[in-house]
C-alpha cells in the first residue's frame, strides 16, 4: 500500500467528494415537511425551471405561488395566464401540433379537464408526498390531478348602498323584494363556477329560484368584470360573486364586503397536474408537490384560496371571519357534471337567453 500520508489524503479526498456529492443530493424540506427527495430535487435543479399554464389571475398567483415557490426551491416559475376558453384553445392547438410545452396545467372547467385527460395531456399519475393529507374530493385517486385552488362563491354587498340593518345573511335574501332590480349574477355560460352557482341556487336553496329571481329583475352579466364594476359603483347592491373578487375590491377601498352564508357556498375549483409532454418533468413534480404541501397551502390562503393540503389552516376574510371547511362547500361531482351540463344550460337559456 502507499505511504500513510497518501492513504490519509485519499481518504480525506474521498470524504470530501462524498460530502460534495451529498451536498448536491439534498432533499427539499421545509418546516419539517419533505417536499421533494434528494434525487428529485437534484434532477429538478438541473432542469431549473417550470412552465405553468394557469387560470388564476397573475395578481393572485404571483405574490402567493410564484414568489414563495421560487424563494423556497430556487427554481424559476414561468406563469402564463389564460382565461379558461383561451387556455383550452391554445392547449389543444399546441398539443395537436405536438408543440405543447407546458409542464404544469390547471383549468377550472371539469368538462375541459376530462377532455385534457382523454387527449392524454393530463394523465401523469403522480402521488405527491402529502397525498394522504389531501381530501378525496380534492385529488384524483391516481394522482393525475389535484384541486390546486378552490375559491368560494358568496354574496358581495355594497355597504354604501345597503344599510347595516338590511345586510343580507343568507342566499334566500337575494329574493327579497326590497332588492328588486338591485341584484346580479354572472351568466351561466361564463364558466364552471357560474354554472355551479346557478345549479346550487336551484338545488340547495329553492327549486324555483331561477324563475323567482328572474321575476325580481336580476341583472345577468356576460362576464365578471362588468358585474363587479357595477357592484362597486353601487348600480347593484348584492351580487353572487367570487369571494376573492369582492375582497380585492375592498382592498382598494371600495365599499364592498363579502358575506358567507352559513347554509353553504358553491366553489370554483382549478384542477391541475403534470402534463405528459413538458420538458421539465422533475421541476414540475416539485411544483405540484409544493403546492400540495402545508407550505404551499400557507401561501395559497394569503390570497383567500383553500389549500390543497387539509393540514393547512383555513383562509380568512379581511374582517377576520374564517372560511368554513372546504368539505362543507358545494360541488357538482364530475360525472354528474357531464350529464347535466347541456340540458341544464339549455333550460337556463330558455329563461335568461344566451349571454
Amino acid at each position: 500500500m502507499a505511504h500513510p500520508v497518501i492513504r490519509l489524503s485519499a481518504l480525506l479526498l474521498g470524504w470530501a467528494l462524498l460530502a460534495q456529492g451529498a451536498a448536491h443530493a439534498q432533499a427539499l424540506v421545509i418546516d419539517g415537511e419533505e417536499i421533494a427527495d434528494a434525487t428529485l430535487m437534484d434532477a429538478a435543479r438541473k432542469e431549473g425551471r417550470v412552465l405553468w399554464y394557469g387560470t388564476w389571475p397573475e395578481r393572485n398567483f404571483n405574490p402567493s405561488v410564484k414568489a414563495n415557490f421560487e424563494k423556497d426551491t430556487g427554481l424559476k416559475l414561468d406563469f402564463i395566464r389564460l382565461p379558461t376558453q383561451s387556455m383550452y384553445q391554445r392547449v389543444t392547438a399546441e398539443a395537436g401540433a405536438q408543440r405543447l410545452s407546458a409542464d404544469v396545467l390547471d383549468i377550472t372547467d371539469p368538462t375541459l379537464l376530462a377532455q385534457f385527460m382523454d387527449k392524454g395531456i393530463l394523465n401523469v399519475a403522480h402521488k405527491v408526498p402529502s397525498f394522504g393529507r389531501i381530501s378525496a374530493g380534492a385529488k384524483d385517486e391516481q394522482g393525475r390531478w389535484y384541486a390546486f385552488f378552490r375559491l368560494p362563491v358568496a354574496l358581495g354587498v355594497n355597504t354604501a348602498v345597503v344599510k347595516p340593518q338590511d345586510m343580507p345573511a343568507h342566499w334566500i335574501d337575494l329574493l327579497d323584494p326590497k332588492w328588486k332590480g338591485m341584484t346580479s349574477a354572472s351568466s351561466l355560460d361564463v364558466g364552471g363556477s357560474a354554472f355551479a352557482t346557478w345549479v346550487f341556487l336551484r338545488e340547495k336553496i329553492d327549486p324555483n329560484f331561477w324563475q323567482r329571481w328572474r321575476d325580481l329583475g336580476v341583472h345577468v352579466y356576460p362576464a365578471v368584470a362588468p358585474a363587479i364594476a357595477d357592484l362597486v359603483r353601487g348600480e347593484t347592491a348584492i351580487a353572487a360573486m367570487g369571494v376573492t373578487t369582492v375582497e380585492q375590491q375592498a382592498g382598494t377601498g371600495a365599499p364592498v364586503k363579502a358575506v358567507l352564508p352559513p347554509e353553504g357556498m358553491p366553489i370554483l375549483t382549478a384542477w391541475g397536474g403534470l402534463t405528459s409532454v413538458g420538458r421539465n418533468p422533475h421541476a414540475a413534480a416539485v411544483a405540484v408537490n409544493w403546492i400540495a404541501s402545508k407550505r404551499g397551502g400557507a401561501a395559497l390562503i394569503q390570497q383567500g384560496a383553500y389549500a390543497v393540503n387539509s393540514d393547512a389552516p383555513l383562509p380568512k376574510l379581511r374582517d377576520g371571519t374564517v372560511f368554513p371547511p372546504a368539505e362543507s362547500l358545494w360541488e357538482i361531482p364530475k360525472d354528474r357534471w357531464e350529464e347535466i351540463r347541456t340540458p341544464v344550460s339549455e333550460e337556463w337559456r330558455r329563461l335568461f337567453g344566451r349571454r
Binding site: Q85, S86, A93, E94, D109, V224, A254, P255
Partner: protein
C-alpha cells in the same frame, strides 16, 4: 394611370421568381388564414385539434338563431348610423379646413386628426366611465345640477355615438385631400358664370369630391361592422351582440363552438367583402382629380357671420372627443376604486391619489408590454415598408405575370375582419413547424397581413408620382435594372416609404382585435394589457394605462402628422 411597365432589365428568372415570391408572401399573410377559417366552418370540431371531425354543413344551419338575427340587426344599426354621423362631422371639418376662411385653421386640422390617437378601446372605456349608470361622471353632473335626464352609454346608441365621434379621421383625411386637389379654376369658373357660393358648392365642389365621400363612407361601414372593442365594452355588459361579439362569444363559450364561430365569421366576411367590392367598383375609373396647375392659390370662401359658429362647432367637437375622455381618464387613474357617491365625491381630494398611477407605471408587466408594443410596431413598419415597396414596384413598374391578381390580393384584407383574421392565423400557425407561434413574430405576421391595403396604397401613390422616364433614363445611361432602382427610384421614394412606415407604426401600436387570439402572457402588447385589466375589473390600472397609451399615440401622431395623408 400607372406608368408604362419597364420591360427591359429583368432576366427571365427574375421575371418568374419575383411574382411567385410575392404571391407566396401574400398567400401566407392573407389567403391562408382565410382558407383555414373557411375550413373550420365546414368541419364539426376545432381545426387541427386532434379531435375526430367530419365535413358538415351543420354549422351554417345552426347559427341562424334569433340571437344571430338580432346580432345582424345590431351590426347594421351601429355601422349605418355610426357612418352617417362620422361622415357628417368629418366632411364638414374637411371642408372647413380646406376651403373656408375659418379662423384658427390648425385647430380644425387637429380636430380632424385627433381621433387617431385616442384608440377606440380607450374611447369606449372613457365613455363607459362618463356615461353608464348612476355613477357615470356626466350623470353625476346632471344629477348635481338637478337635470332630469341621464345618458346611458351601455346601449346601441352609445356604440353609435362612439363610432360616430371617433371614426371622423378617415373621412376627414380622404375628403380634405380630395378638396385640396380640386383645381380652383373649376370653382372660379362657376363663380364667374353666375353661381353663388352655395350653388358652387352643390353643383361643382361636392360632386367633384363625391368619390372620396362615397369611398370613405363605404370603408367606414366596413370598419364599424367588424369592430370589436367598442361594442364589447359598451354593450357587452348588457348582452347586446354584434356579429363580431357573437364570434367572440361563440369562441369563449364552454365548450366552444369553433365551427359556428367560423361560420358566423364567414358570414361577416361575406358582408364586408361585398361592401368593399362595391366600393372598388364605384371608384374604378371615376377619378375627378385634375392635374394641379401652376401655384395653386386656394380661394377661401368667406363664412361671414357663420365664422364663429363654425369655430364653436369645432371646439365643441374637440371637447367631446378629447377633453372629456381625457379628464375622465385622469380622474379615474387617481382614484383607487370606482365607488362615487356624488359629484362632490368625484373631486374629493381625499379620495384621489397618485399611488395607483405610480404603481402601474412602475410595474414590470407594463414595461414589458410597452417594449413588446414598440418592438412589434417597429418590426411591422420595417418589414412592411420593404415588402410593400417590392410589391408596389412589381405591380406598377413591371410587366411580370400576375400583377392584377397581386393588386387584388393586396386589397383583400380590407374584407377580412380583424377578429376573423386572428382566428385564422391562430389555427394556421399552430401547425407550422416554425418557432413563430407564441412569439411576437405571430403578432407581426397578423399586423403585416392586416395592414397590407394601407401600406400598399400609401407606397403606391408615392411610386405612381415618379415618372417612368426617370428610371428609363438611368437604364439608357447604362445602369442595370437593379442599379436604376437603387440609385434613382429608391432615393426618390424614400420620403414616401418613410411616410408609409410611420402610418404602419401607428396602426400597429393601436391594434387590439387582431392580437386577441394570438398573444401569450409574455408577448402582451399594451392594448392587450389594457383589455385584460378591463376584464379583471382593475379600472384604476385601465385608466392609468390608457393615459400612457394615449400620450404615446398622441406624441407619435403629432410627430408624423405630415405623413398621415391618405390618397383617395
Amino acid at each position: 394611370m400607372a406608368g408604362q411597365a419597364t420591360v427591359a432589365g429583368f432576366g427571365t428568372v427574375g421575371r418568374a421568381a419575383l411574382p411567385a415570391a410575392l404571391f407566396a408572401a401574400l398567400g401566407i399573410l392573407v389567403v391562408l388564414p382565410f382558407l383555414t377559417l373557411a375550413y373550420a366552418s365546414f368541419i364539426s370540431a376545432a381545426p387541427f385539434s386532434g379531435d375526430a371531425s367530419a365535413w358538415t354543413f351543420a354549422n351554417y344551419i345552426d347559427i341562424w338563431s334569433p340571437e344571430m338575427m338580432r346580432a345582424i340587426g345590431n351590426t347594421l344599426v351601429v355601422s349605418l348610423f355610426g357612418t352617417a354621423i362620422a361622415m357628417t362631422i368629418g366632411t364638414l371639418l374637411a371642408w372647413l379646413a380646406a376651403r373656408s376662411d375659418i379662423p384658427c385653421r390648425p385647430l380644425v386640422h387637429l380636430a380632424g386628426m385627433m381621433p387617431l390617437f385616442l384608440s377606440l378601446i380607450v374611447a369606449a372605456l372613457c365613455w363607459s366611465l362618463l356615461g353608464s349608470g348612476r355613477s357615470g361622471y356626466l350623470n353625476l353632473v346632471f344629477s348635481a345640477l338637478g337635470l332630469p335626464f341621464r345618458i346611458n352609454m351601455q346601449s346601441l346608441a352609445g356604440i353609435v355615438f362612439v363610432h360616430g365621434v371617433y371614426y371622423v379621421s378617415l373621412p376627414f383625411l380622404y375628403v380634405h385631400s380630395a378638396l385640396t386637389l380640386v383645381h380652383p379654376d373649376l370653382e372660379e369658373a362657376a363663380a364667374i358664370h353666375g353661381a353663388s357660393l352655395r350653388r358652387t358648392l352643390t353643383r361643382v365642389t361636392f360632386p367633384l369630391v363625391k368619390p372620396a365621400i362615397v369611398g370613405s363612407a363605404l370603408l367606414l361601414v366596413v370598419l364599424m361592422a367588424e369592430e370589436f372593442p367598442v361594442p364589447q365594452i359598451l354593450a357587452g355588459p348588457t348582452g347586446i351582440e354584434t356579429l363580431s361579439i357573437r364570434i367572440y362569444n361563440l369562441m369563449h363559450e364552454v365548450p366552444a363552438s369553433e365551427g359556428q364561430a367560423s361560420a358566423v365569421a364567414m358570414v361577416l366576411t361575406a358582408f364586408v367583402g361585398l361592401l368593399v367590392y362595391t366600393q372598388r367598383r364605384m371608384l374604378a375609373g371615376r377619378d375627378f382629380r385634375t392635374v394641379t396647375g401652376k401655384g395653386l392659390q386656394v380661394r377661401r370662401f368667406p363664412l361671414g357671420r357663420w365664422r364663429w359658429i363654425a369655430l364653436g362647432f369645432v371646439c365643441l367637437y374637440i371637447v367631446i372627443a378629447v377633453v372629456l375622455p381625457l379628464a375622465a381618464l385622469v380622474l379615474t387613474a387617481l382614484r383607487s376604486n370606482l365607488y362615487i357617491s356624488s359629484l362632490a365625491a368625484l373631486f374629493d381630494p381625499a379620495q384621489l391619489s397618485t399611488e395607483r398611477l405610480r404603481e402601474t407605471l412602475a410595474s414590470p408587466a407594463v414595461a414589458d408590454s410597452l417594449k413588446n408594443s414598440l418592438l412589434a410596431a417597429v418590426s411591422t413598419a420595417a418589414f412592411g415598408g420593404l415588402f410593400y415597396f417590392v410589391l408596389s414596384y412589381a405591380v406598377y413598374r413591371t410587366d411580370v405575370w400576375g400583377r392584377r391578381a397581386l393588386e387584388f390580393l393586396a386589397m383583400v384584407p380590407l374584407a377580412l375582419p380583424a377578429l376573423v383574421m386572428g382566428l385564422g392565423i391562430l389555427w394556421t400557425w399552430a401547425n407550422v413547424p416554425l418557432p413563430v407561434y407564441g412569439t411576437l413574430a405571430i403578432l407581426v405576421i397578423a399586423y403585416l397581413g392586416r395592414f397590407t391595403p394601407q401600406g400598399f396604397r400609401a407606397i403606391s401613390s408615392s411610386m405612381l408620382q415618379i415618372h417612368t422616364d426617370l428610371e428609363e433614363a438611368a437604364m439608357v445611361a447604362g445602369a442595370s435594372k437593379g442599379r436604376a432602382v437603387r440609385r434613382i427610384v429608391w432615393p426618390l421614394m424614400r420620403a414616401g416609404v418613410a411616410a408609409a412606415m410611420v402610418v404602419l407604426f401607428v396602426l400597429a401600436l393601436r391594434e387590439l382585435t387582431a392580437s386577441l387570439f394570438l398573444y401569450t402572457t409574455d408577448t402582451r402588447v399594451l392594448s392587450i394589457v389594457i383589455y385584460e385589466e378591463y376584464e379583471n375589473g382593475g379600472w384604476s390600472a385601465v385608466a392609468s394605462l390608457s393615459l400612457i397609451y394615449t400620450l404615446l399615440l398622441g406624441a407619435l401622431s403629432l410627430a408624423g402628422r405630415r405623413w398621415m395623408q391618405v390618397r383617395a
